[in-house]
Symmetry: C2
């Protein structure tokens, strides 16, 4: 059975998250249903990142085995046609080897947290950004973020429901940048993250941006290895899974019209 690597964009608002649930809509179920309508069988989808309810993606990656071979462009267009009523889109589909595993082969996961920082709330971007009305100090946030970069026990910054056995992770990048005029983006990259880790970072760094916390407070919270030392957890709707990198494959921006089409 040929295996396909799918790159997926979705608006997480109407879903209980990436992963299939018994009673609630999920991104995985939407794509699996489209695949069922394409090929008649019930293929199972494996995603690189199991995003939470309300979290968005512009570069989620998943793999799926289909019962027969199709051209990549056919898989992409057919799945998109079957999903036209849902805010889930296949950006690209390409045949890969049977040793490709979207989840376990992933080497770098990139996330972006979008803070909307102006006096007035968001109307057009409502549900796509976290509105913070007080002017934030981006440089102070970036400086404090560097306390978190590197290899640490991130017990403070993970959900009490996190199921990972090991709370130690290597955060390869955590940058805070101004973007799109009125936004502040927190860009995070690691091989893997703990549950709610980036939203915990975002809520904590917002306190720094407001001048309520210093980089030293962040350092002490990290060292405490205590969930109650964390700042508030930022809402899910500001978070985007933007890219997954695999071994020997650089991060890339997908062209709107792939050359092979």
């Amino acid at each position: 059975m040929p295996r396909y690597k799918l790159t997926v964009e979705y608006d997480g608002t109407p879903y209980a998250g990436w992963q299939r649930q018994a009673d609630e809509p999920s991104v995985q179920a939407v794509i699996e249903e489209a695949a069922h309508r394409l090929c008649g069988t019930n293929p199972v989808l494996f995603g690189a990142g199991r995003t939470d309810s309300g979290v968005h993606a512009t570069g989620q990656v998943a793999h799926i085995d289909l019962p027969k071979a199709y051209a990549g462009g056919t898989v992409r267009d057919a799945l998109n046609a079957h999903m036209r009523d849902e805010p889930v889109v296949i950006l690209s589909a390409e045949e890969v080897g049977a040793d490709f595993d979207a989840r376990f082969s992933a080497r770098k996961r990139w996330y972006r947290y979008r803070i909307f920082n102006r006096r007035a709330p968001a109307a057009i971007l409502r549900g796509k950004v976290w509105w913070v009305s007080k002017l934030l100090d981006t440089e102070a946030m970036h400086e404090a973020a560097q306390v978190l970069a590197g290899t640490h026990d991130f017990t403070t910054f993970r959900s009490t429901h996190c199921q990972a056995k090991n709370p130690i992770r290597t955060l390869e990048k955590l940058e805070v940048v101004r973007a799109n005029g009125e936004e502040i983006h927190i860009v995070a990259m690691a091989q893997s993250f703990l549950h709610n880790q980036i939203r915990s970072f975002a809520g904590t760094l917002k306190l720094v941006g407001e001048g309520r916390w210093t980089a030293t407070d962040v350092s002490e919270a990290l060292k405490a290895k205590d969930r109650t030392a964390c700042g508030p957890v930022a809402p899910p709707y500001g978070l985007y899974l933007t890219a997954i990198e695999y071994t020997n494959e650089p991060k890339r921006t997908l062209p709107p019209y792939p050359a092979k089409d």
Copy 2:
């Protein structure tokens, strides 16, 4: 009664349009209700552009007379607090003279039509852009747009429901540009527009971008002064009212934190 100039951003999706309707939600009614909750009376709002159902705005302007004087920032924040459940936001409120009329004093109206031009549909921007899957020739569209710029009888490019007595308008600017990587924007500016005029331009210029129409075809459609010569009307959800200019007042981008606050 002091008069206030309001600059307004809204997501047009849930509304029957700007103008108050008997039985359907409208942007005007949302803001008037917020003003009622602020001051107890029933102030009437006058908008510069009566946008259609589903059309968005990032720079609509309206005026309203309130029964007592408030600081501009207070009007903005109080109205926003009362509208927190609606995708309608006051970007700024400033006291103006009694001779300021948002509609009749307006000298230049700016609109932007957003085409989302990639192979895969929009997920994150669903409902905020018009998805066109075929790669469009932006330069050909821009060239054909210049046929429409200037003073013409725009009978071909207005709705049969348009109530304006005179179909002649002076289109001061009609530009087609690539934007945000995957988008094509049609930027239009005139003192006033006819009903559905920009959406008629967008649908017609899309035919040019696809290579189905030439600039000559557009010229002939214009000269025909016949509604049936128009291309298809583009959907409302790609259209944004972006700015209104008044006499002796240059177009400006509102800063996220006005200096006077």
